[in-house]
């Protein structure tokens, strides 16, 4: 399989605080990779670095055969990387439809349009004129995912998309995620819910204190290995 994204010895942090210590990571075309790990392990920081919200302080970041480490953040969408940010971060003064259209601000050619997003999440079509932040948590998550899809990304980064949602809604969200994967894009999931991550991903990578502590296909990892990699005990 063709390599879509690759990082080598990637480091990043906030000011004097270093959060990532040399991450080697890759995603192949069409693959779904889950990143698990305890709070503060650097999962969100890693996704933010991939999405250009945070500048890497060292190492390499290659996407589709280009070195994008020094690209300005606003060009990542153009390159084909979209992030569903933690906490959804919808635009409160914009309607549902306007939020989705913002996702298409720099649009690549591809299957995702307003119509196909509404087909995926019919409830959003009904509420298209409502302010996005008036919707329920699950519906807001759908807006955030739809907004990311509207740019027709090659790589979809999802940060804690199940956080704070009812189990039924989480199942629904993950069901649509597998539908989305069917349209041929790669996914990186950051997930606290290990069970959910194991089900949805082809490969699991565990972060611990800014380093990769374990990596493998879900079926090949034992409980002990995971808990050792997760907690470091």
């Amino acid at each position: 399989m063709k390599r879509l994204l690759e990082t080598r010895s990637l480091t990043a942090g906030y000011g004097d605080f270093q959060a990532l210590y040399g991450i080697d990571f890759h995603v192949d075309d069409g693959e779904a990779v889950a990143i698990i790990g305890a709070n503060g392990a650097g999962k969100t920081t890693f996704l933010r670095t991939l999405a250009g919200q945070l500048r890497a302080t060292g190492g390499q970041l290659r996407f589709a055969d280009e070195n994008i480490a020094a690209w300005p953040g606003h060009r990542m969408a153009e390159a084909g990387i979209a992030l569903v940010p933690e906490g959804r971060r919808l635009f409160p003064s914009l309607s549902v439809e306007e939020n989705l259209l913002m996702g298409a601000y720099t649009r690549r050619p591809g299957p995702w349009t307003l119509a196909s997003v509404f087909e995926l999440f019919p409830v959003l079509c009904e509420f298209r004129r409502r302010p996005a932040t008036e919707l329920s948590g699950g519906q807001q998550q759908m807006v955030a995912m739809g907004r990311a899809l509207m740019s027709n990304p090659r790589l979809l980064l999802c940060d804690e998309i199940s956080l704070g949602l009812a189990p039924l809604v989480v199942r629904e969200i993950y069901r649509t995620l597998s539908q989305i994967r069917g349209k041929g894009l790669s996914v990186v999931l950051v997930e606290q819910d290990i069970g959910q991550a194991m089900k949805a991903a082809d490969r699991v990578v565990c972060f611990q204190e800014g380093r990769v502590s374990l990596e493998g296909a879900p079926g090949t990892l034992s409980r002990e290995q995971i808990s050792q990699a997760y907690f470091g005990v």
Binding site: G52, G73, H74, P85, R89, F91, L94, M102, Y105
Partner: protein, 290 residues
């Protein structure tokens, strides 16, 4: 009676000019969360630019706008992109200090170039032209023209913000610049674009200002104050609110001046204070229109 009706009409129409003053300020605050202390001086600068082009190129007063508005838009874009953007961040004091300094620079530069004398733009018979509505009630043609321009400008801004891709990017960036960047929005460019539009509106305000009255280089801060008051009375972030705020300010000033020639500016400030006391959020807050 007719005298009072005339006073009220003058006040309402003066509100059109104040709305034009305020719209640019409201826009730069709405998108960049930046308070531009040099806003009033930019209006006065635009006025002098109109006087300069009218005198040196022999243009009719209204046509100076065709040069001054694009010129100010370009200057606004460059100032934001090259200078103001560097000051935006968590510290709200930095843009305040910078634009405060810019205000002093503009005032002194204008004084150097045009001297401290008051200047105006000779608009010929338009200055006194009016429609007689009967019973001694009359409406000035120029004030009416200013009001119509203000309404048209606000409607155009409203359309831009609500209906266009750029307008969506303005509102999204104002909500959450970091997330807008994820969508591919270059915030440096978006901010500069917003300042370019604000500066073009400033140019309209400045040209009408020198068509209506005379100015001197140190008049900027007073224009800034009127702009602020109109924005606050109308409600922060509301475009049509600036028209309401400007109108209330204009009427208060006209009525005050009618009672006593020295009370005009004072009663405008009093109206502003009354609104602050009883409705500090302004009269039309949070219309979701920035």
């Amino acid at each position: 009676m007719a005298e009072w009706i005339n006073t009220l009409l003058q006040g309402v129409l003066l509100g059109g000019l104040y709305a034009l003053f305020a719209a640019g300020l409201s826009l730069s605050f709405g998108v960049m969360r930046m308070i531009n202390i040099a806003h009033g001086d930019m209006i006065v600068f635009a006025g002098y630019a109109a006087i300069f082009t009218a005198e040196h190129l022999g243009l009719p007063p209204a046509l100076t706008l065709l040069l001054v508005a694009p010129a100010l838009a370009v200057l606004g874009y460059l100032a934001q992109r090259l200078v103001f953007n560097r000051t935006l961040g968590d510290d709200v004091l930095r843009p305040l200090l910078l634009t405060f300094g810019l205000s002093i620079v503009i005032q002194n530069a204008l004084q150097e170039m045009f001297s401290a004398d008051v200047r105006g733009l000779d608009i010929g018979p338009l200055a006194t032209a009016n429609f007689q509505l009967g019973g001694e009630v009359a409406i000035g043609v120029l004030p009416l023209l200013v009001m119509a321009t203000a309404v048209a400008t606000l409607a155009a801004l409203q359309w831009l913000f609500r209906q266009t891709r750029a307008g969506r990017a303005f509102r999204a960036t104002s909500d959450d610049a970091g997330t807008a960047q994820l969508m591919g929005v270059n915030r440096q460019h978006v901010y500069a674009l917003a300042m370019a539009i604000a500066s073009a509106v400033v140019a309209v305000a400045g040209v009408f200002l020198v068509m209506r009255t005379t100015i001197s280089p140190s008049d900027g801060p007073a224009r800034l104050l009127y702009s602020f008051e109109a924005v606050i009375i109308g409600g922060l972030g509301s475009l049509w609110g600036t028209l309401l705020g400007g109108t209330i300010l204009g009427v208060a000033q006209a009525v005050g001046a009618k009672l006593n020639p020295g009370w005009g500016v004072l009663s405008g400030h009093l109206a502003f204070l009354l609104v602050l006391m009883f409705r500090p959020q302004g009269l039309m807050p949070k219309t979701r229109d920035r």
